[in-house]
Symmetry: D2
Subunit: 297 residues, 4 copies
C-alpha cells in the first residue's frame, strides 16, 4: 500500500481520505481546521511522508489552490508529485506545472466527480499529465474510483490541463441535464394532466431512455418533499458552467442548451431583472399596456 | 369621402376613429361603453350606414370578435364588407370569411401596428383578402397609414388570413427586438463600466446600426425614470408571441431568439419557479451544496 | 397467465410480443405485414381471444392509430379493454376513450419507453385511465417492465391521457439530455485540449454526476466509430418534442433547454437557412462585410 | 477648423476622412496602402501636424492597433492626444492609456457605429476618457456625427474603456436584432401563408413597432434579391458579439437572445456539426431510428 499527503479535508477531501484509508493506503491529511487535520502544518505533512512523496491538493479553486501549490513548491523535493484535484480552471494547470517543474516536482491535474456520494460509490476521475506520473498515482486513483472496469471511471485524458478540462465540460453538461429534467418537472406540475408527478419521475428510473443518476437524485428529493416546497428557486453556479460557455465561445461551438441552463441560474437569483423592467417599459410606451408599477403613494 | 362603421372604441379603435375623421371620412362608431359610442347598438350602426356598407371590427381577439362577426353576419346584407382589425389568430380568419361569405358579405383581415402612437403617426397595415375588397377599403387604409409611399406602411399580403399572419410574425420579431435591447441595457447597468447608461442609449438614436423606433421609446422611458425604478420586472404576453412560436414549430423553423424572448416573459412572472427549485434540489442532493431553504419556524 | 391481442408488430410491437410470451402470456399478434402476423385480420384477432378481451394497439401515431381504434370499436364487445401504447398526442386519448366508452369498452393510454433495448431490459410504462382498467392490465405491464420494484418502471399517472402526457414530457426531457451531451462532446472535440475524447466519455460511466443510460449509448456509438464519422449531422424529430414545447407555451412554462434542443434539430436539416441568409444580407448592407455569395458563372 | 492625423484608411477611415474634410477640417491620413495615404509614414504624419496634435487611430483591432499605439507613444509629444476608434476590446484601453499617459499623451477610446453609410449619414459615437480630452476632440466628433442634437449621436460614456464597452454592447444588441428579423423572415417564407414576403417587410417601414434602420437595410437587400438567393447562409462574427456574451457571463446577466444570435452564426458555418452527429448517434442507438449515414462505397 502507498502513502499520500492530502491537503484540504472539506466535503470532498474528508470523504476521500476515508475511502483511501479503507482501501489500505496510509493518508496524512492536512486542513486549516485542526479538528479534522492529522498534522499541524503543510511542513509537518511533508515531513511525515517518505520521499518520493505524492501530495494531493483538494482545496477551493483559485487563490487557495494557488497559494497551496506555491508553498508546496518550496517544501517538496525533486522527484515528488503534486496532484491538484480541485475544481480549478484548466488554464491554471500550465502555471502550476511550470512552477513545480522548475524544482523537479511532477504535476497532475484531476477532475473529481461524484459529490458527497463519492465516499460510498467512488469518484469518477479525469486526469491530465505525463504517463509516468499517472502510473505512479494509479494506486490512489484505483482506490478512489468505483468498482468495475478502470476505463469506466478513470481516464488519462491528455497532457497537463486535460483533466480539469474534461471535468469542466462534464459540469457544463451537468447544467444542461439538470435543467432538462427541471423543465420537464415544471411542465408536469403546471399542466395538471398528470396527477402523480413524483410517481412519474420515480417510474422513469428503470427501462426508460431518460434514466440516470441525476434522475434518481431528483426522485429522492421528491420523496422527502413532493412539491419541493422547502426549497427556494435560487440557484448558485460555481464557475465551471461559465468556463464551459467561455470555451464554447472561444471555439465557436454552439452551446444553446448549456448557455440556457446557465442563464436560468442567473435569472433565478434576480429579484427585479433590469432587462425585464426594460421590456415592461417598452410595452408601456408603445402599447399603453398595463404594467405593474410600484405603489409609491 | 367614404363612410365606415367602426366597432370597438378602446385604445386602438377610439384613436382610429379620430384619425379617420381627421382625414374627412364619416365614421359611425359603436362600443358597449355608451360614453364613447355614436350609436346604441350594432343594429343601429348598420342602420346608420348606406349600403353597400364597410364595417371595421376592432374588438378583443377571441370570443368578442367571433361574437361580433356572428352578429354582423345576421345584420349585414349581401355586398357589404367586414374588416377584422383585431389581434386575432390567423386561423380564425377562414372561419369568419366563410361565415360571412355564405351571405355574400366580403371579408378582410388586417394586422394593425402602431399602438397608442398610431393616431398621430399613422398605423402600419397588413391586409389579407381579395384584391377587389382591398381596393374598396383603400380609402380607409390610406387614412390610417402614415404619410409617405403607400408600400412603406401598407401591404396586401395575400389571401384571407395573410394580414393577421404578417402581424403575428411582426409581433414575434418585436418580442425579440425588445429582449435584445433589454439584455444590452441590463449588461450596461450591471458592469458599471459605462457611467451614463441612459446617455448611451440616447446617443444610439442617430447614425448607429441599432437605431429604431423601439430604441426611441426606451430612451423616452429612461428620461422619465433613468433606472426604470418605477416598474416591476413583470411582463405579460398577449398571444401573438406564442402563436409565432407555434408556427415556427409547425414549420420546423428554428426560432431561438423569439422563443428566448417569450420564455423570459414567462419567467418574469414566476415568483418561485418549480424548475429552479428542482435544480436547487439536485445540487443539494449530489453536492451537499448550500441551497436556500425556507425558514419555517 | 393471461391472453392479449397485440396490433402492430413493428420495431416496438414485435419485441413486446417476444417479451410478453417469454413471461408466459398468450399473445395473438396482428400486423399488416403477413410475415410477422399471427392472424389474417383484426376480425380474426378479435375472434381468437376469449371475452373479456384485452387488446394492445401499437401502430404509428395519428391516422393509423385512429383507424385501428375505430375498427376495434366495431369489432369488440362491452367489457373489453383497449390499451393504446403508441406515441400518440395526449389530446387524442379523450376522443378514443369516448368512442370506445360509448360501446362499453374500456381504454388505457400507455407511454412506452425503452426503444429497441426494451425487449431485453424491459420497458418503462406510464399509464392513464381508470384504476379498474389499470389493475386488469397489470399482468401485461408487469411482464413488459424491467425487473425491480414496480414503481421504478411503472406509474399510473392519472386519468385518460396522463400516460401519453408523461411520455411526451419524458421525450421532451430526452431531447434536452441528448443535446447537453452533444454540446459537451463537440466542445471536447473542438478544443483539442483533451486527447482522448471517447475515453473521457467512457470514464464518465461510473461515479460521475452525468452518468446515465444515454451516456452509455453514446459511449457505445463512439466505440464503433470514435469520431462519429459515419453519421451525418442531420436529426429528425418525431413529434413529441414539438408537443412538449407547445404544452410549455400553453402553460407559460419557460422551456429554454427543450426548445434549444428542438431548434438544433430543425437547423441540422437545413441546407441553406433563410434566416442566416437574411443576417448575411444585413451585414453586407451595413458593413460592407464580405459575405459568401454564390458563384454563378 | 482643426487639424487631425488619421491612421488607417480602410472602409471606415477612408470615409471618415472624407466626412471630416467636408466639414472643413484639415486631415492628414496615413495608410500602409500608399495609394490612399497622404504621407509616407507615421513619422511623416506626426511631422505634418502642429503640436499639440490629435491623432485618430482607425486600424484593425488587436495586434495592428497595439502596434500603432506603441509607435505613437514614441513619436508623439507630451500634450498630444490619441483617439482609438477601432473595434477594440475595452480591456485594452487601460493599457493603451497607461502606455501613452506615461509620456504625457492623452487617450480617448471611441466606439464608431454606422458602417459604410456613415460617410453620408454620419456616425454614432460613444467615447471614453477624460472630460478635457473629450472637449478637445469635440470638433471632430461633431463633424463625424449626424446632424441633429449632439446627445442623439454622441455620448461621453465614462472613463477610459467606456466608449468601447458601449460599442461592444451596441454590437451585441445588433446581433439580437438581426436574428429576430431573420427568424421572422424565415417563418414568413416557410409558412406560405403570406404571398408577398418582401412586400410585408417593406410595409413595416412606417408606422409599425418594428421599424428600424436594420429593417430598411433588409428591405433594400430584398429589392435586389427577393429570396436572398445570391447569398449563402454563412455568417461570420467579428468579436464583439463574443465579448458581449463573455461580459454577460462575468456579470451574471442572462443573455439568452444575444447568445442565441451568436450561436446561430457559429452553426451557420458548420458543415457537419459534431454535436448533431452525436444526437443522431444516440437516436440510432436507442431507437433504431433511421439516420443518415454516409454512403461509402
Amino acid at each position: 500500500m502507498a502513502q499520500l499527503g492530502l491537503i484540504g479535508l472539506g466535503k470532498m477531501g474528508f470523504n476521500m481520505r476515508e475511502r483511501l484509508r479503507e482501501a489500505g493506503h496510509r493518508v496524512v491529511g492536512y486542513d486549516r481546521n485542526a479538528e479534522v487535520s492529522d498534522v499541524a502544518s503543510l511542513a509537518d505533512l511533508v515531513a511525515a511522508l517518505e520521499a518520493p512523496r505524492v501530495v494531493w491538493v483538494m482545496v477551493p479553486a483559485g487563490a487557495a489552490t494557488r497559494q497551496t501549490i506555491t508553498e508546496l513548491a518550496e517544501l517538496l523535493d525533486e522527484g515528488d508529485l503534486v496532484i491538484e484535484g480541485g475544481n480549478s480552471r484548466y488554464t491554471e494547470d500550465a502555471e502550476h506545472a511550470e512552477l513545480l517543474g522548475r524544482r523537479g516536482i511532477g504535476y497532475l491535474d484531476v477532475g473529481v466527480s461524484g459529490g458527497v456520494w463519492g465516499k460510498e460509490n467512488g469518484y469518477g476521475l479525469m486526469v491530465g499529465g505525463s504517463t509516468a506520473d499517472v502510473e505512479r498515482a494509479m494506486p490512489f486513483f484505483d482506490a478512489l474510483r468505483p468498482e468495475g472496469p478502470r476505463e469506466e471511471s478513470f481516464v488519462h485524458a491528455g497532457g497537463v490541463g486535460a483533466g480539469h478540462y474534461a471535468k469542466m465540460v462534464h459540469n457544463g453538461i451537468e447544467y444542461g441535464l439538470m435543467q432538462a429534467y427541471a423543465e420537464g418537472f415544471e411542465l408536469l406540475e403546471a399542466s395538471g394532466v398528470v396527477q402523480d408527478v413524483p410517481g412519474v419521475l420515480k417510474a422513469w428510473q428503470r427501462g426508460t431512455v431518460v434514466r440516470s443518476w441525476l434522475l434518481e437524485l431528483l426522485v429522492e428529493a421528491l420523496e422527502n418533499d413532493p412539491e419541493l416546497a422547502e426549497l427556494e428557486a435560487y440557484v448558485e453556479d460555481s464557475g465551471e458552467g461559465r468556463w464551459t460557455l467561455e470555451e464554447a465561445i472561444d471555439n465557436a461551438v454552439p452551446a444553446p442548451v448549456i448557455s440556457a441552463a446557465l442563464f436560468a441560474r442567473f435569472a433565478s437569483r434576480q429579484e427585479n431583472s433590469p432587462a425585464m423592467r426594460a421590456v415592461a417599459a417598452l410595452r408601456k410606451q408603445f402599447g399603453g399596456h398595463t404594467v405593474k408599477t410600484k405603489v409609491t403613494d
